[in-house]
């Protein structure tokens, strides 16, 4: 029963699984190097050439660290929380397509889509799974039985609930334009060019939607300038104050994988997915990786450029700026789709 198609699919799943883990390691290295560059430091340079093996050294160090258990913690939820975080991060990537269907240069009889699960409500599935990730953070905060952790957890819950609305509204504008919830269809709608040179990406039709989605996405992944759940100057380390060793590493892996997923979704929704000039369709995944890298770099760039908001500014911005802008944009888009057939 083990035909080539199923085998190829299994290999694809494994490749994506490990690629996501490795992406976390790469992001750790990139984060440190970019930070160093922006602060005129060298960053890691001792382990391996140009410090390239630094992430491996970090992981090994974390493996051998002692695992501390706070005496007053709720042990079951304390251990469950990082697992929820990291599992949600992995699952959220499943419906994300990252390339056109390919036969791997004639290796397979039928083309295999470069996507783990082609769900017809893919956009919503990502949204649903991503909203599960917040439980990892809230439960970590509560189960640690520490004031800093609890404050971090509560902040994260408030922040995610507030920004999810704008996130969903921006998502809905693209769904309206494409007339489909499937990421495959949305990407397919963005092939081709206007006037022969401008790619038909939704970012050019929906710049406001793109900005709202990207900002809300950064807030959803708890990255600076929205990194309130772990604001170190006020909360020590926020929700993961009491965590050590691999459980701590799992939170960080979840954070980096979430960044990759949000960026990948932005690429698919606004930047034309794997479509790009010069390369044949079957090598589209190279374009996908290029766009993904650019977005991930912007993530790091923002972190080392912008100071953190104050908490009331965060809430005011989310509810009084981002949400109204997203709503007006959604209504305008709906009107445009109905009356002008965009």
């Amino acid at each position: 029963m083990l035909d080539a198609q199923i085998l190829a699919y299994a290999v694809l799943v494994l490749v994506v699984f490990f690629a996501l883990q490795i992406s976390a390691a790469v992001m750790v290295y990139a984060e440190r190097k970019v930070a160093a560059g922006m602060q005129q430091r060298l960053g890691p340079y001792l382990v391996g050439p140009r410090g390239l093996l630094q992430p491996i050294a970090d992981i090994v160090k974390l493996f051998f660290k002692e695992e501390l258990r706070p005496k007053a913690a709720d042990w079951f939820l304390f251990s469950l929380a990082p697992i929820i975080s990291v599992a949600a991060a992995f699952v959220a990537f499943a419906p994300v397509p990252f390339g056109a269907a390919t036969t791997f240069f004639g290796l397979l009889d039928e083309p295999l889509p470069l996507q783990i699960a082609d769900v017809n409500v893919a956009v919503l599935v990502i949204f649903a799974v991503a909203s599960m990730g917040v439980y990892g953070i809230i439960l970590a905060g509560w189960a640690s039985n520490s004031k800093y952790s609890l404050l971090g957890g509560l902040r994260s819950a408030a922040q995610m609930v507030s920004y999810e609305l704008a996130f969903g509204m921006a998502l809905a504008t693209i769904v309206l334009m494409a007339g489909s919830l499937s990421l495959q269809d949305i990407v397919a709608n963005q092939s081709g060019t206007w006037f022969g040179f401008l790619p038909q990406w939704y970012i050019f039709v929906q710049p406001v939607g793109f900005l709202v989605f990207w900002i809300a996405g950064i807030a959803e992944t708890n990255r600076a300038p929205f990194d309130f759940p772990e604001a170190e100057q006020e909360l020590v380390a926020g929700y993961h104050t009491e965590y050590s060793s691999m459980r701590f590493a799992m939170f960080f892996m979840a954070e980096y994988i979430n960044m990759v997923t949000v960026s990948a979704v932005v690429v698919n929704l606004f930047l034309g997915g794997w479509h790009g000039p010069w390369l044949p369709e079957s090598l589209g995944w190279i374009w996908f990786l290029v766009k993904l890298s650019v977005l991930l770099f912007i993530y790091l760039w923002l972190r080392w450029t912008l100071p953190r908001f104050r908490y009331d500014q965060l809430m005011a911005f989310g509810w009084k700026v981002l949400l109204p802008v997203a709503t007006v944009n959604l209504l305008l888009t709906a009107a445009g789709v109905i009356y002008f057939g965009l």
Partner: protein, 175 residues
Amino acid sequence: MGSDQLLFVGFGALALLGALAVVAQPNPVYSVIALIVSFFGLSGLYVLLESPFVAVVQIIIYAGAIMVLFLFVVMLLNATREDGSEWDRAHPYYRPGPMRLGAVLAVLFGVQMIWALTRTVGLGVGVGETRPAVESVRDVGRVLFTDYMFAFEVTSILILAAMVGAVVLARRREE
């Protein structure tokens, strides 16, 4: 037993066990978690009924948004474990009168369940066969804003009223 039935039993059991755990164990935070597990079971059942949209919406709205607020409230109120001995004297619901009422309600509910289950023609003859299946998001939207327009708008007003009520109740008196 086919794989569909196996999945049905699995998700059904998940939903039921989750729901039981909500009331059966004393820690309110665990109750919230159990309710989320139960919602996942329900969502699986919706997928088996071939309505992935409802399944995902179930997760987004109930498991994702509403339960976060529940958890929020439980944590902020710092609700402790429900220990039997203290609550026997303090909590009015645990006194004999309400307990009897609860028992009567439980019996009534049991009777209703038996009545409902014996009326069913047979498993598998559901909504899908008597009327066109509402599968795609487009269909859900169209039905919601045409056939069920009134119910939809009334629900919206109800929620709006609840929101206004909550704001009025929570507002501090300026004196």
